[in-house]
Amino acid sequence: MERRILGYGGMRHLAVFLLPATLVLGIVLVYPVLYDTFISFFHYSLLMKYLNRWVGLDNYIQMLTSRSFWYAAWISGYFTVVSVGGELVIGLFTALMLNRKFHGRAFVRSLVILPWALPTVVNGVMWRWIYDGNFGILNGVLYRLGLISHYHSWLASPFTALNMIILADIWKNWGFFTIVLLGALQTIPDSYFEAAKIDGSGFWYTLWHITIPLLKPAILVSLVMRITQAFQVFDIVYMITQGGPANGTQTLSYYIFYNAFQRLQFGSAATISVLMTGVTLVFALILIKIMYSEVEYM
């Protein structure tokens, strides 16, 4: 049986063909993760190497009892929930709209993906200028529309700045949900919706009881992807607020950056990254478990 599937040479050839990819993944993924976990047990200063020493779980204890760490964790959590939530809702409704036939639909569909194609750094710089307190167009437009009486400094207050960054992130990423959910929508036969309509089902009832359940696999897959990305957000924080004001936008990734490259404490930075990985892993496993139980029902 093995011979029939794998052909001449069988397992040996398989091993050889898999070797390059395994090597690359090993060097680029496995080794750094293992080394990172390894340093998290040390006090590891980048340049003053004579201070480096084994500290066991000290870094973890210090981190888990540190207010800064939990504040950063709260900011990352809030960012993830609001940002991904917003993207999902907007993405879902746009997908529903783009599922209908209308003139220029193909054009609009291609426009939708443009923000997502923008590099995160470029997006960050762009929004920094949009939000600028003196020259930004957000102020300009709102002022001219009479919605604000004077220019606001959008990034000057910690919580407002965080929400503005979330807005910038939602703008960039909702196209992702649109594309994934649109693809999934198109696999649902029209007859389902026609039948529902005949039975007297309204828009919201159809959406909640038919469309969304059928989209569950697609929603869950895209959620896993976007949640892990949003939880690790760094670029946009670095470009717009550099973690400020008063650490109000300091996500966990930025906190790692601060520990590693400004305090030069690589041990602490490694600890945070291990903790983040742990949380993300657990979360992803839960979502995947839910997803697979759904698919079986299908």
Partner: protein, 414 residues
């Protein structure tokens, strides 16, 4: 006979190869802050002409990224750069990390004594000179004389109380939306601005080795900063998110009359490509509320150093020496607004003539204070920055924020 010829040929080839190796090009890698990079780049052709065997590979980054860039590159490879740009506040940390080459051998004592004493002291640590200063610097008080006149004011403010009063007049007469804009975002510049105000209110950073900024002048300074935005409304609230480089265009576009900037800003204000206020900017002494102290500001000189891991130390020194030479110091001053390192140049007519505000800037240097020279400066600065920001964003009162910072800083161990 054939063998002899063969040997001669080989020998002559070796001689030719040997001489060409001796004349082989050496490339030195230089990393610099963006601020005076245009000047440094402009003199590279002259340098390479003078030393045809040395090629300069020059790169520059914004000041706020310079520390990280240098440390991460050098930690991976000690010879990643031959010449690095060093800020006055990094000297002790860099030396403790072992990345700087002592320069005592390159600068004989006779030459050293010709450099301004405070610069020498700033860049000397544990008895050795580690950084060759490239320019002296401090936060200067730049003001738009046109806007002052429009508001009916004949001179710039001398105290911080007058500063608020004059700003209000300017705002009431609708000459400008705000009297001033500052760079109070969470970065090193914030400490520089705070330091100027702290000393201008008679405060101290440390006293007998213990933090003293959370009382007296230090506390008054932060209260002034908070009140200037929220109570008197004379400072642009965007100051909380701006860096000292960001505010340049508010000043250069003539939007705001008062600003505190480094010496390089002069070059920006006088460059018609970047500024609409050429010829309208003057320099005044930074205000001070302390009786008997006409002014108080923060210093900010920078210099160049040879890395300890450099493989071309002699060539690196030649470049540093070239930039520090009197001829180039004059050029840097006249064309880019820098303050020279040599005492004698402060009497040079060439320097004094081309920079009309230079006299005031020299006077300002007499009232310039250094930031604390502690070995853990980066962490001290970060803790204080967050505390100042917490007060500026009204998350905590100035007293509570500074007390918290003082406690954390007192507990810093190395």
């Amino acid at each position: 006979m054939r063998r002899l010829v063969g040997i001669l040929v080989v020998l002559s080839l070796l001689v030719v190869m040997g001489t060409s190796l001796a004349a082989a090009k050496v490339t030195i890698r230089v990393i610099s802050s963006d601020d005076f990079a245009p000047f440094r780049k402009s003199v590279i052709p002259a340098f390479e002409k003078l030393y045809p065997n040395i090629k300069v590979d020059f790169s520059s980054v914004g000041y706020d990224n310079l520390l990280q860039k240098e440390l991460t590159a050098l930690s991976a490879d000690r010879s990643a750069y031959d010449v690095i740009d060093v800020d006055c506040i990094w000297v002790s940390e860099y030396v403790d990390m072992g990345i700087l080459e002592p320069l005592d051998g390159y600068v004989p004592p006779s030459e050293r004594s010709k450099i301004i004493k405070s610069l020498r002291d700033t860049f000397t640590y544990k008895g050795h000179l580690y950084v060759m200063p490239m320019f002296h610097d401090a936060l200067f008080f730049y003001y738009n004389v046109d806007m002052l006149k429009k508001a009916g004011l004949s001179r710039p403010p001398k105290t911080w109380d007058e500063f608020v009063k004059y700003s209000k007049i300017i705002q009431q007469k609708k000459v400008a939306p705000y009297g001033s804009i500052w760079g109070w975002s969470q970065n090193e510049g914030l400490i520089c601005y705070y330091g100027a105000l702290l000393h201008g209110f008679g405060g101290k950073f440390f006293e007998s080795g213990k933090p003293a900024f959370n009382k007296g002048g230090g506390l008054k300074a932060l209260q002034w900063m908070v009140d200037s935005i929220y109570k008197w409304k004379v400072v642009d609230p965007n100051s909380i998110t701006a860096t000292d480089r960001d505010i340049l265009h508010s000043l250069a576009s003539g939007r705001v009359p008062f600003g505190f900037e480094w010496s390089f800003a002069w070059g920006v204000f006088e460059d018609p490509k970047q500024s609409k206020v050429k010829g309208k900017i003057r320099v005044g002494l930074v205000p001070s509320n302390v009786k008997g102290l006409p002014s108080a500001t923060t210093t900010g000189p920078m210099g160049l150093s040879i890395t300890s891991g450099s493989k071309h130390k002699a060539a690196a020194w030649k470049f540093i020496n070239f930039l520090a030479s009197k001829k180039n110091q004059i050029k840097q001053s006249v064309e880019y607004g820098a303050m020279p390192i040599w005492k004698s140049l402060y009497k040079s007519p060439a320097v004094l003539k081309h920079h009309p505000e230079f006299g005031v800037m020299v006077e300002q240097l007499k009232y310039a204070f250094n930031r604390p020279q502690v070995p853990y400066y980066t962490e001290f600065s970060h803790i204080l920055q967050v505390a100042l920001q917490k007060a500026l964003t009204k998350k905590m009162t100035p007293k509570a924020a500074l007390d918290e910072a003082a406690k954390k800083i007192a507990g810093l161990k190395r």
